[in-house]
Symmetry: C2
Subunit: 549 residues, 2 copies
């Protein structure tokens, strides 16, 4: 034991605590874990992605000894290009497949050559500063996923990473129970564990649980089978390859990220695809429908992904037709349900049969449910328990489980992003929240959009805007009727009387102006009169901009 | 049998087919069923509600013989004030509680005196034109809900209305199985049935299934219990009243619609509340927390409803405090999940305990699941089956059940809103879709917002707008650097160099204009230069408005 503090901070990102990034700091030496992005919430208008706000590390950049990426999913890797730019001297550690997926990203962003990536085996070990980090395999919906055992001068920390306990994983490589037991033997100061499914009773089914359904679908389908899933769900690709093999179908891939990831995973030996099975999408189109399957992206309702385009008849190669069986093999990320359902409805409209949860068992979660979460706690027997990787409601549910298992309330810390927990002399306590939050990515801009701009977009989305152009004559009086221009407010062609009345309202408000009236006063009077008149007439509150020409 | 056709049309409204309104027409005489609204989809920016587009009936208004409202929920009653204005001569028929809920709405809109409402018993019967309509009780999450048996010259139609088969309903009044069997005996031409839960296997639990959980919550809660639910869920109010009675708590109501509906339902005898149990919200606030419960609105994440205000600390009377137990006793309407979860997280942040599905069994669906849907078909044994009240995917799932039960594919019609089905000489066929869709309500405007305006709002929501003001001198040349005004695009104060460059780009594009260059050419050139320059610099596409002053 040392009397210096070990500090843990879950960093920025939306809702899910510590999901996109977290840090450990001891004696001014820093270890970062993960570099992910989140989908924006639906009222973050126009935002493309949200990355963790690690601005508080600005003056400590050279003290970051390592960045460890636990697995290859977007919410753990998506911010890697930003992180590489901002911490140019920190080495990155990842398991082989994770490294492969990172390199696809870094190459696309042309920063691969300045990245220092090291491959670590799934049972590897590294020493960085005061930290000794032992990797251990944990099952998830992607191969080469790891948890971390971090030996620090303050004690042993176990971080589950994303996990489930799958006893029959697709790649045949189960979670490393022996290592978990070994940690318990050494004595664990704190367990940080995945809370995603803490609201779900029971045990998450094995990835293999979907195979009977897939067998059934491929056996009975009279036309093409189109399986949509995440591009990074390498094990699902293997499962589709296997069933294609059994039923003698060729396989085509649709979507850039799907094509790139499969190519890389195959090259690295993570996908076992029989020679000659893969065909190009254009070829697949010419083959007999019952001799081909297609894997595509777009399960989250994204209009620009393959499935979204197919649904509106705008994919350049694939047209949905009667006889097609389309399988939605992914769960909806919360907030996307409405868009996903719309796509399912549209695919039905085009005559396809669509299979999705709960109508067919075509997807299972990659995260542990309550019984597995309890098992992890029982195996590890930690002194302190910190639920992570979840919204506050999930952390609360996970903490409730810990209490049921006898971990006392004062040894359980439910904190939100930005709130550190400090360990000194075997005791933990919560510190004050570090200011900051998350950073918006919009187009090529990173962090240039703040809450004020989002608020303006909210107003514009709701009621549009009205511009009034006020032209003055030489005496400073109104030269003509104020001109009204609107967008997103009313359909201008059908609203001539309203627009006339709006112009008149401004004219009335400005009837006594002279060359002594200053412009800001004119703008203010015009805006006030217009906004009042518009609200009375329409009960709407568009944004108003008055221009004095 | 007659050889004139009977025509059925599910009318407008969003996704859910025939939910908000449907019509039967025989020999130019029309029967309308329901007058509901839908919540707008999340990309219908700024829209407050969506009502069915019954514009195709414009020239047939006087042929509407009756409007029947099957029960008192918003998606069946919410457009009643519009319907009363547009069909002033059509009598409205509703069961007692439904009538009470309609009258609350009509009174608020000051059109009660011009409405002709008739009360019909839940086993009542009316003759309207060529239709004989027999009402029959069906269980749902509101009392006085009915299905309809409609005897027409073309045959007997059975319409399930919203339903579940609850053998132990809160009001003690189960579905009218005898009537269903009697219809079957007479021979049913077509069954129209609720598809909401056609994707869900098994049987929907009884409303009573939540009572043990509520007992448990009220017994153990050390502070206030705040139950949030729909204002129209009268049976849930009764259940909370019952458990308040057992555990000696007073009950306060929060939310105008909750207060109004409870007052009306109590007056009409649909709620049995012990004398002295109801207290005002302000009083409740002064009482000992463990002696009071509150029922509130806002389960759908609406920021302006009671729960939404409580979550951000802005309710004028109730402040959430540690010790409060908040129960979310409603299911999320699809599309609202994200907002609901945000509210749950915020209530946790304020120290409350929050209980919701699936963490606690505090709500059950009001709609039949697959086994009940099969039972209805088996009871009725219709010649034709038409799934209604659901999105296309649900209708498809419901049709699949019908096929499993032996109803042939060519006697099952899965159609979308606006597509008529015609019955002649005992045969049914689908007709061409009637043009139309739905009508947006925005502020006080009904139907003045179309797709073009929504598209503009979409652009504005994503990237905001840029206005450039171009001032010319006497020679028609630029008098000064073009002025740039933006909203929702970038934070203007931090973006001076970008704004300067934008102004310069316009100046460059207009450097050779003279008094001969006309205004529209100037606007076009400025817009083009600006949009290109902005996309190159920022990868954003704001709306651009050029004004020549």
């Amino acid at each position: 034991m040392s009397s210096k503090p070990l500090k843990w901070v879950p960093i920025g990102g939306l809702g899910e605590v510590g999901k996109n990034m977290m840090m450990f700091e001891y004696d001014e030496e820093i270890l970062l874990i993960d570099a992910g992005i989140m989908f924006p919430e639906s009222d973050m208008h126009g935002i493309d992605a949200v990355i963790p706000d690690y601005g508080f590390l600005k003056n400590k950049r050279d003290r970051v000894r390592a960045i460890i990426i636990t697995h290859g999913h977007e919410d753990h890797t998506g911010a890697i290009t930003h992180v590489v730019r901002d911490f140019p001297n920190a080495p990155i550690y990842a398991t082989p497949l994770t490294r492969g997926l990172l390199e696809v990203k870094l190459k696309d962003a042309r920063v691969l050559d300045r990245s220092k990536i090291h491959t670590i085996a799934t049972d590897g070990e590294i020493e960085v500063g005061p930290f000794r980090v032992e990797f251990f395999r944990m099952c998830h919906s992607i191969p080469d996923n790891v948890g971390l055992g971090i030996t620090t001068p303050a004690g042993l920390i176990v971080h589950s990473g994303d996990f489930k306990f799958d006893h029959t994983p697709v790649d045949g490589k189960p979670s490393n129970f022996a290592k978990l037991a070994e940690f318990a033997g050494r004595g664990v100061l704190a367990l940080f564990a995945d809370s995603t499914n803490a609201e779900i009773a029971g045990t998450t089914p094995s990835e293999r649980a979907i195979e009977p359904t897939f067998e059934h679908i491929f056996r009975d389908a009279e036309g093409r089978v189109i399986v949509a899933t995440f591009a990074s769900l390498v094990s699902r690709v293997q499962q589709v390859v296997n069933v294609c093999d059994v039923y003698g179908r060729k396989l085509a891939l649709a979507g850039t990220s799907m094509v790139e990831n499969v190519k890389m995973a195959q090259k690295m030996g993570y996908l076992d695809i029989p020679d000659g099975m893969l065909v190009r999408l254009e070829e697949a189109n010419k083959m007999k429908p019952d001799s081909v399957a297609i894997m595509a992206t777009g399960t989250q309702g994204e209009p620009s992904a393959v499935l979204g385009r197919m649904a509106v008849g705008k994919h350049p190669v694939i047209s949905v037709m009667p006889g097609d069986t389309i399988v939605m093999s992914a769960h909806p990320i919360p907030g996307n349900e409405e868009y996903i359902h719309r796509i399912i409805n549209r695919l039905f409209q085009r005559g396809a049969e669509v299979l999705y949860d709960p109508v067919a068992k075509v997807h299972v979660s990659g995260h542990a449910s309550q019984e597995e979460q309890k098992l992890l706690m029982s195996l590890i027997r930690p002194k302190y328990f910190i639920p992570i990787h979840g919204e506050l409601r999930m952390l609360k549910a996970h903490a409730r489980l810990a209490h049921e298992l006898g971990i006392p309330r004062d040894r359980t810390f439910v904190v939100e992003n930005g709130t550190p927990v400090e360990f000194v002399d075997g005791q933990a306590r919560q510190l004050d929240r570090i200011p900051g939050g998350y950073v918006f990515v919009d187009g090529s801009g990173v962090g240039d959009i703040g809450k004020a701009v989002i608020r303006d977009r909210e107003v514009l989305a709701r009621d549009g805007f009205v511009t009034v152009v006020i032209r003055r004559d030489r005496d400073g009086r109104l030269a003509e009727k104020p001109e009204i221009i609107t967008r997103g407010f009313v359909y201008m062609k059908d609203s001539e009387p309203l627009l006339q009345a709006m112009s008149q309202a401004v004219a009335d408000a400005l009837k006594d102006i002279t060359d002594k009236t200053d412009e800001s006063a004119i703008r203010e009077r015009a805006t006030e009169a217009l906004s009042k008149m518009i609200y009375n007439e329409t009960k709407r509150r568009p944004m108003i901009v008055a221009i004095v020409a």
